[in-house]
């Protein structure tokens, strides 16, 4: 059952990703990407990460992709622009690089199977079930990773300032 669900969502994610990179219209690309992100959120649930799945939907599919669409519309780029996708040479290079890369990644996967480090099956699922989805992530986040978490706020502040400075016409 889980496997069927996983492969269904995986197929949707991959197909949407292919459509995302091949559609000429940026808006279509963005919407297909949203589709991929939703599928990934579903896969996260299957992988015992319901909190991350929720964040994925809220932050990624919600906030970030809306930002993308907003910029596309702001700049009035919605219609298909000529020369967006490269010519035959560019396509050949892209496909060849993709094939080599997927070969390498699979080789990497086969070369170093993560066998020895495995937790007993269902450990994470048990933790999530026992503590609840949010608390399972909150514990390590606010204990072991407290300083990085606080540093992240500085990063976000810098990003806000940077975005304002860059996008504003005149300060």
């Amino acid at each position: 059952m889980t496997l069927v669900a996983f492969w269904t969502f995986a197929a949707v994610a991959i197909a949407s990703a292919v459509l995302c990179i091949t559609r000429r219209s940026p808006v279509a690309s963005a919407l297909w990407l949203v589709n991929t992100l939703f599928s990934l959120a579903a896969i996260y649930v299957l992988l015992d990460a319901p909190f991350i799945a929720a964040i994925q939907v809220l932050v990624y599919a919600g906030a970030i992709m809306v930002l993308f669409l907003f910029v596309i519309m702001l700049l009035n780029l919605g219609r298909t622009a000529p020369g967006d996708i490269k010519g035959p040479w560019g396509r050949a290079v892209a496909v060849a690089a993709g094939l080599v890369l997927v070969f390498e990644l699979v080789a990497l996967w086969l070369a170093a199977p993560p066998g020895e480090l495995e937790l007993p099956a269902g450990t994470v699922a048990g933790t999530v079930a026992a503590r609840g989805a949010v608390q399972a992530v909150a514990r390590p986040l606010f204990q072991g990773y407290l300083v990085p978490f606080e540093v992240t706020s500085v990063l976000l502040l810098a990003a806000i300032v940077g975005a304002v400075v860059l996008a504003k016409r005149r300060l």
């Binding site: 292919v18 990179i21 910029v71 700049l75 993709g98 937790l119 099956a121 994470v124 399972a136």
Partner: protein
């Protein structure tokens, strides 16, 4: 039990992101492809966190934060470039020429 398939899906999605980056000229679409690659990596983290502990999920949390910041700044840059060049087609933008 889902680890192997997850990693395979992650590899395919990552490669699709790379192919997209190489295929497109529109800055915003390339940006979206980068987001796709980030999500592929996130999938790897989540899949492995099932085996190695919850730290993987915490890491994904951070990746998302950074991705959000990156999207904000990156899109601001796109807007600024568009204002100067009237295009987001990278072929027509060669400010980096040496």
């Amino acid at each position: 039990m889902l680890l192997g398939p997850s990693l395979a899906v992650s590899a395919i999605l990552f490669t699709l992101g790379v192919v997209g980056v190489l295929l497109r000229r529109n800055a915003i679409v390339i940006f979206m492809c980068i987001e796709l690659m980030l999500n592929a990596v996130n999938l790897t983290f989540i899949a492995l966190s099932q085996q190695l502990g919850l730290d993987g999920q915490v890491f994904v949390f951070f990746v998302m934060t950074v991705a959000a910041a990156e999207a904000a700044v990156g899109l601001a840059i796109v807007i600024a470039v568009y204002r100067h060049k009237d295009t987001v087609n990278l072929q027509r933008i060669n400010l980096l020429r040496g």
